[in-house]
Amino acid sequence: MNQDQIRATVLSELSEIAPEIDTATLAPDRPLREQVDLDSFDWLRFLVALHERLKVEIPESDYARLGSVDQLVAYLAAKTA
């Protein structure tokens, strides 16, 4: 899966958790949780969904590196490569 596909997956799973957002308006380099109202449960569901879609392990100790869409995509791309 290339980066564009991973990005599309990330945004589609995000829309499932927060259906009210327009993913086209998100700043991909800004912290996601500053732009989208995600509580810790939403965040966990989002990561679980990405784990299931991409078969990637995401240890809790890595959460701090997953702030923005760009960071998520880079992290997941490295893991799926």
């Binding site: 259906p19 009210e20 509580d39 810790s40 449960f41 679980v48 995401i58 100790s61």
Partner: protein, 418 residues
């Protein structure tokens, strides 16, 4: 004959609109069975029966708005002969609220009274359960699309989502452009009205709280190193889908501490406090479209953290998709609000009547912490208590926060049922 009445849906929900019946005349009903779905200003609620019997007649029709306490159905008891089907009595009790709605702006709609109980029954066949999000339900109503024409949705467990409704509207407008069904929503929308209605119901309950309850407020900074380290170690060994959030040990700790402080757990009604042996913790859950619901997690001390985590996840999901059970809205004996998620350091809460205490958690922040003659960096959580002075004093409230602080220094004690 047993009268089944619309049960309480919590202090701020005094009426509801029947969406559908889950029973029909002749069905046997057991305690706890979901018999109807009622829409409140906050959510669609699965109404559970607290009586047992055989359904004789359904007295309220879908789309009718009724007050809490209205007789919705009549059951016959075991061994009781059903009265003749033309019995006129049920029609007279139709939609007679036994308590007035708190929100005068939303008086019950005039009810088309069925000529007899049998016609009411015939008019309301048991409908298959349709899973649909509140937003989708509103949009479908705006677009005048019948929900039962939408089929299985694309959401979780086949739930119909807003996108499904929009797609259906698109295809309707393509296939039949002249149909009025696909006209764009007029302004103001039903969603706006609903948001306004929810704001009114929250205002009514919390105005009552501030008017009647002499609140006192306490807060305590709690060092969280031990609990967070324990949680991190626990989660490192778990697959992602089974990881615990801090909310689970916090809710558990609150419930365990309340066991030794009964004056903070229960209901104040009719000038008297009744402590509750059971500890059902209401969890303040914000809704995506705005507003707040605080449904209860039942018997929290008896659950281990995995059970609690699963129950909490389920409760949040169902709150946001609008599928709560009536007992969850009426059973809470205390409420917990966690505003730390939004980044604030502390909360001074408003008690949700008839409860007598509300526990608030802020955000965990790293702070300079002096202990044992040394200065260190410490993750700190500010816990607060708003409690009812008619029932307890600051001394007992302080005891609660002290117990909570101590328990969170021994997180391994939280993992098992107590």
């Amino acid at each position: 004959m047993i009268e089944f009445k619309l049960p309480s849906l919590g202090a701020d929900m005094d009426e509801g609109k029947l969406l559908e019946w889950k029973i029909k005349p002749g069905d046997r009903v057991t305690r706890g069975q979901i018999v109807a779905v009622v829409d409140t200003s906050k959510a669609a609620v699965d109404i559970e029966s607290w009586q047992e019997g055989t359904v004789h007649a359904l007295l309220v029709q879908p789309e009718q708005t009724i007050a809490v306490g209205t007789v919705m159905a009549l059951y016959t008891e075991a061994g009781e002969a059903a009265p003749p089907p033309q019995a006129p009595a049920p029609a007279q009790t139709l939609a007679q609220p036994t308590s007035a709605p708190a929100v005068p702006a939303a008086a019950p709609a005039p009810s088309p009274a069925p000529a007899s109980s049998t016609t009411a029954a015939a008019a309301t066949p048991a409908l298959a359960r349709t899973r649909i999000s509140p937003a989708a339900r509103q949009r479908a109503a705006e677009l005048q699309i019948a929900i039962d024409t939408l089929g299985r949705g694309s959401g979780e467990l086949g739930a119909i989502t807003l996108a499904d409704v929009e797609r259906a509207a698109q295809s309707l407008s393509v296939s039949a452009p002249a149909m009025p069904a696909a006209k764009p929503a007029a302004t103001p929308t039903r969603a706006d009205e609903r948001a306004l209605q929810m704001r009114r119901t929250i205002a009514a309950a919390l105005s009552r709280s501030k008017r009647e309850i002499p609140h006192y407020y306490l807060s305590e900074p709690i060092p969280m190193r031990r609990t967070l380290d324990w949680l991190a170690a626990e989660n490192a060994a778990r697959p992602i889908a089974r990881r615990l959030l801090l909310a689970a040990p916090l809710l558990k700790a609150v419930a365990v501490c309340l066991k030794s402080l009964p004056e903070l757990n229960g209901w104040y009604r009719d000038d008297a406090f009744t402590p509750s042996a059971a500890i059902h913790v209401g969890v303040a859950i914000s809704l995506r479209q705005g507003g707040l619901v605080a449904p209860a997690l039942h018997d929290v001390p008896a659950q281990n953290l995995d059970q609690l985590m699963a129950a909490l996840g389920d409760l949040i999901q169902r709150t946001r998709s609008g599928r709560l059970r009536s007992s969850e809205l009426s059973d809470g004996t205390v409420t917990v609000t966690s505003l730390g998620e939004q980044g604030v350091q502390a909360v001074q809460g408003v008690i949700y009547p008839p409860q007598v205490a509300l526990v608030g958690f802020g955000r965990v922040t790293e702070q300079a912490w002096a202990a044992d003659g040394a200065l260190m960096a410490m993750p700190v959580l500010t816990a607060s208590l708003a409690a009812d002075h008619r029932v307890s004093d600051g001394h007992r409230g302080a005891r609660f926060l002290t117990l909570l602080r101590e328990l969170l220094q021994q997180p391994e004690r939280l993992s098992e049922p107590t």
